[in-house]
Symmetry: C3
Subunit: 311 residues, 3 copies
């Protein structure tokens, strides 16, 4: 690939040697002569001599763009083949009454239960278990070893990474000579454009559904309990846990290892910083941290006071 082609893809302006061929694409500190890198700051140090950044860099070639992160998004998308090769593996097991358009891909050792409906262009990875009656929309990618249990409805263009479990019984019991599990009959609704990481668990509702709103992105090893409702365009980072029946607004960001207690209401546009525990409902448009979580600036002040003269 030449710089001129890269410039077309990232919608920027070439500078330096236009005909340079790019070698590897690497982070600034790992790149060498001939490699291409992205510099959020054009003054940043790198051995790469081809850079995509916000201004011309002396002695280097590259592409000037407004937003190098967006340029990276465009270039990597261009370089990635996301088309699936349709086909139903003879080593998969397909139940009765399954709706399966020709453009789908079902990989070996996958099991598709009775009456499952799968949309056009969807790929079910190897070793997946799709339970009877599950509905999966168009253009979805369900990666290897995932388990999608009954009463789950998945929208369009949803991506679910490996080893994730959706729709297991929630953790609700009554006490009666020991604990007895309340049988969960609710479902899980995963709306369009949701992405879910690897080794995630999302439980079905007791009655009523667990819901993940459109465009929400969930990282690896996250736990979402029964009847949780998550709004649109939220970000749940690695190892977050949300307890039963909690409602989370739109555009909420829960940073790594955050926990949210059960039956709470979290407003829109809330940010909760890493490792915090939200134990009370919180209104919209604010930032929280701490255990138990409070407004972030309050926590910063209390911590400053705690450590005053302590170092």
């Amino acid at each position: 690939m030449k710089i001129t082609e890269v410039a077309l893809v990232v919608k920027g302006t070439v500078f330096g040697k236009k005909s340079s061929r790019i070698g590897k694409i690497l982070p600034p500190e790992e790149a060498n002569k001939g490699d291409l890198t992205f510099l959020y700051d054009p003054g940043q140090n790198t051995n790469a001599d081809i850079v995509i950044t916000t201004a011309r860099v002396k002695g280097k070639s590259g592409v000037v763009v407004q937003d190098p992160k967006r340029a990276m998004y465009r270039l990597l998308k261009h370089l990635t083949n996301t088309r699936i090769k349709p086909g139903i593996s003879l080593r998969s097991l397909i139940g009765k009454g399954v709706v399966l358009p020709r453009q789908c891909r079902i990989e070996p050792f996958a099991i598709i239960g009775n009456n499952v409906k799968i949309g056009k262009g969807t790929c079910i990875g190897s070793h997946c278990y799709i339970d009877a009656g599950v509905v999966i929309g168009r253009g979805c990618r369900i990666h290897t070893h995932s388990t999608i249990l009954s009463s789950t409805k998945i929208g369009d263009y949803v991506e679910i990474h490996a080893n994730t479990v959706i729709g297991e019984q929630g953790f609700g019991f009554i006490r009666s000579k020991g604990y007895k599990r309340i049988k969960h009959i609710g479902g899980v609704i995963i709306n369009d454009l949701v992405e879910i990481g690897a080794n995630v668990t999302i439980d079905r509702g007791t009655i009523g559904d667990t819901v993940i709103g459109k465009g929400t992105k969930i990282d690896n090893l996250v736990q979402i309990a029964h009847n949780v409702k998550i709004g649109r365009d939220c970000i749940l980072m690695g190892q977050v846990g949300i307890a039963g029946s909690t409602k989370i607004g739109d555009n909420v960001m829960l940073c790594g290892q955050v926990g949210v207690s059960d039956h709470l209401q979290i407003g829109d546009n809330v940010v909760v910083y890493a490792k915090s525990a939200v134990l009370k409902s919180v209104p919209s448009n604010k930032e929280y941290s701490g255990i138990p979580a409070r407004e972030h600036r309050t926590v910063l002040r209390a911590i400053a006071r705690l450590y005053k003269n302590a170092d």
Copy 2:
């Protein structure tokens, strides 16, 4: 289903229109006309016109019961078919010397190692790996993609959810030109009526066993290290982690994301609140929180002091 039938199942007294047919069963805030819901407080707002609650509600029909949660348990149990359809899938692999009663179910792509013993009415889900010599009791449900490694003994009526791993090598090393794993030869004992969530990990003992006591319930993404002993009727919520050789009494509740350090003794009837880290042994019958964990009321007092005048 009619209200009169529901009343029989939940053992309550009908009020209002006895012949009403119930629509969906939904939470109070999601239910509509014709639906049935459960109200812990009979004054709670809902559009459902069929309610199961502790007193008659004007303008609605329903069933009066002493304990609506228990009524929910009874009704959902009644509505759920928990019987398995026995049969050994031709796509499973069964080793030599396996004890496998006719009433069992082995799903496709499951592997049952040599000399495994499985009790009556047990179901091994698709893609499970049951290692040589494992013993599993009667009426168990081992869900899809679970891994049960050798030296594991599972009692009766145990349920293990998807993608859970039981019996891997524990995290014990000696230092000798880098770390070298100590080979673990102990086992895992899962007693009767234990339930274990999805994506859980329970390691085998180094020497001696890791033990989960009768009736204990474990939520998703929990880590239980080698040689941990957990008593009866404990509740371990999502993402709890327990380090090696710790002993936990009976009726202990560890809330979400709690961590317990290694080689500790936790008494009976202890409650540890969410996100706490227990770094010292604690006696019975008390509540703990904080990092490091202390008595809960002490922590509340210290936090109140820390935040005094800080908001």
Copy 3:
């Protein structure tokens, strides 16, 4: 096995009845008459009458060694058969152009993608998914249900436990009418002698690689984000999470449930105690704890002050 044989294996000196046959090998508090146990302190109480410890114990037999933990390592290694039985299961699927020496073992329902290279003596467990182009060295053990995605390179003598996912897309997005995933084209490099627990997730780099240094040991349910670089001989205990692009030195110990924020530099020989959150870069040779993490002694002092007169 007799005490004299044990003494040869653990390289120690017999005392007491040399010809005693050992029963079970159990922890001190679980052992009974006839059993063997290890005592780190020769005065420790046990019913075992065969002990491996640092000095003769009156009334018992056993072996005197300098380091009982090392003796345990030696004895358990001696008792464990770690040889694999080579062979390619007819129920596995092997792609085109795969390099697969005769001494390997591929278990049933495993999938080996096109052009995968596997070294001598490596075992790929049942139901594993090894993506096209993956390289795995000699003497590796990839346990059941693991997923190794493309652009992953694994060195020699690496062990990866069950249900672990290596090489999924990292959690990086741009915002543009909702979030859009940046396609990750980097790889994962797992160096020699690394061990990785069960249900772990290690994401591929965005550009450039995620790297795990030689001899590093990773426990269960750990999350390692895209472009993280971890040095040699580190210990990452259960449920640790490391956010994107963070660099960790050699000989670092991250205790259970520790979180490390993104784009940080952690020096060599750092210890971070359980449940801490590292939010800033930290230099070598120090101990940290707390949320946010500070030097451990500072945190201890601040906590002492906070709880003064609070109990």
